[in-house]
């Protein structure tokens, strides 16, 4: 545990060193500023409240899209994994949506619904639902028929069956879908903001892109990366350890 943390720390320090060396070789701060040059603009944005406002906007969109995509994907994946008939009917749809480029869905949502919050969140959700569904469906197919039979004989209520028999079996798949889900969703949210919102990290990156301000693009991007890493380490990984507790006990 501590060993792997040391390695992670050294590895990240190496990345910053690499960046610093690259900045030194480029010798042009408008193309690649050295890491230290980001601190002052970062503190300025933080103090003005701009950074926190836009971080907040993006996080809310990520949270909504994540919850909707996980909820819908879980329900669909479970239904398709349990019913071969439903799967035969819905699988072609799934394949179509899996192969629809994120950009196409985003543009279509904006065109059909308008440049608003609903369209933005819907576009991100629709991009992620097929992946979650595919992963959960695999898990649902592997659900133990013996435990199913046991639950039926003892007439367990559907809620108890779902929460204590089915979902624990799906936990590794849910955790996998959640982790890859968060990673993909926040990236798509930035694109959605870039294309059609007037707040959020994606919007700020769009703005500084038009000003060719590499420093500010990096300040906003890195701040958000830091937040998403914190979510991964502080929420997702501990949760995964908790649901896996019975395996290692």
């Amino acid at each position: 545990m501590t060993d792997s943390r040391v390695v992670t720390g050294i590895s990240l320090a190496g990345l910053i060193l690499f960046w610093w060396a690259a900045a030194l070789l480029t010798a042009d701060p408008t193309i690649l500023p050295e890491p230290g040059a980001l601190i002052a603009p970062f503190l300025r944005e933080l103090a003005s409240g701009d950074l926190l406002y836009h971080l907040g906007q993006t996080l809310v969109r990520v949270a909504w899209a994540f919850l909707l995509a996980m909820g819908l994907g879980l329900a669909l994946g479970l239904a398709m994994g349990r019913s071969e008939r439903l799967n035969r009917w819905l699988d072609p749809w799934l394949v179509v949506f899996l192969n629809l480029p994120a950009l196409v869905l985003i543009v279509l949502c904006y065109l059909w619904i308008g440049l608003n919050e609903t369209a933005a969140i819907l576009a991100v959700t629709l991009n992620k639902v097929p992946n979650v569904t595919t992963v959960i469906r695999e898990g649902a197919r592997a659900v133990s028929p013996e435990l199913d039979a046991m639950a039926r004989v003892y007439r367990m209520s559907w809620w108890t069956r779902l929460t204590h028999v089915t979902l624990p079996q799906l936990a590794p798949f849910i955790a996998g879908a959640a982790r890859s889900g968060v990673a993909v969703i926040w990236k798509i949210v930035l694109v959605v903001e870039f294309l059609g919102r007037s707040s959020g990290i994606g919007f700020k990156i769009h703005m500084y892109f038009q000003l060719f301000d590499v420093t500010m693009v990096l300040v906003y991007a890195l701040s958000f990366i830091a937040i998403m890493l914190a979510v991964e380490w502080a929420i997702l990984q501990p949760w995964e350890r908790r649901v896996r507790r019975w395996r290692t006990a």
Binding site: A149, M156, P168
Partner: protein, 224 residues
């Protein structure tokens, strides 16, 4: 599902509490497995079903238990059914105590602990099934079956793949619990000795498709 005409019906038990099984036919695809299997189990009676491996004993139990509903015929069973499977079939992600209280929501913590103590698992209430030995897991499965005070208990080769000593402990425990709770019991085994020891009556499945052999005679002189 399938053609409604081919589906079996499970109906509420009659007032006398008898368990009635009338299976006209059970097929897997086009292969008939069971044909004209009809018998009754009276309250507190223990009936063993014997027969060679693969003849359809487990299929018969699954129909009686209500797990398999695709058959022609009808089965009348009481509301409270418990089943002990060939494998312990526990929830590995829940503690031993939760394995009882989740399956039987009416069970209090104290009752669950008493049920665990009855099978010698008093110390293990907080352990996950994976921390228990196979023998302990089977005893937990037995505790789970009896905790619901079943009117019908179904045992599907519960002593198979156990070493002789553990099997003996399990058989003795099962025997004692059946005596205490007195459910109607239906159990499958391919061991004639087990059948003679626990059962008041033995039915044997023979042939293909399997049907009940005619020599279904009482063996302990218990005539319900």
């Amino acid at each position: 599902m399938g053609d409604p005409a081919t589906l079996g019906t499970a109906r509420a038990p009659l007032a006398d509490g008898m368990i009635r099984v009338e299976i006209k036919e059970k097929r897997f695809g086009r292969l008939p497995v069971l044909s004209h299997v009809a018998f009754e189990v009276a309250p507190a009676e223990t009936v063993a079903i014997t027969g060679p491996s693969g003849i359809g004993k487990s299929t018969l139990l699954r129909i009686v238990a209500g797990i398999d509903k695709e058959f022609a015929g009808r089965v009348d069973t009481p509301a409270r059914i418990a089943m002990v499977f060939q494998e312990p079939t526990l929830l590995p992600w829940r503690s031993a105590r939760e394995n009882l209280t989740l399956v039987h929501p009416g069970l209090t913590r104290a009752e669950a602990d008493a049920a665990l103590a009855r099978v010698g698992l008093a110390e293990k209430a907080g352990d996950f099934p994976g921390q228990l030995s196979l023998g302990q897991q089977r005893r937990l499965a037995l505790a789970r079956a009896f905790a619901g005070r079943p009117e019908l208990l179904i045992l599907d080769e519960p002593f198979v793949s156990l070493d002789p000593e553990t099997a003996e402990t399990m058989i003795a425990l099962t025997e004692a619990l059946i005596k205490e709770a007195r459910p109607a019991t239906l159990f499958v085994t391919h061991s004639e000795t087990e059948a003679r020891r626990l059962a008041t009556r033995i039915l044997s499945l023979r042939g293909s498709p399997a049907t009940l052999a005619p020599h279904a005679v009482p063996i302990k002189g218990v005539n319900p």
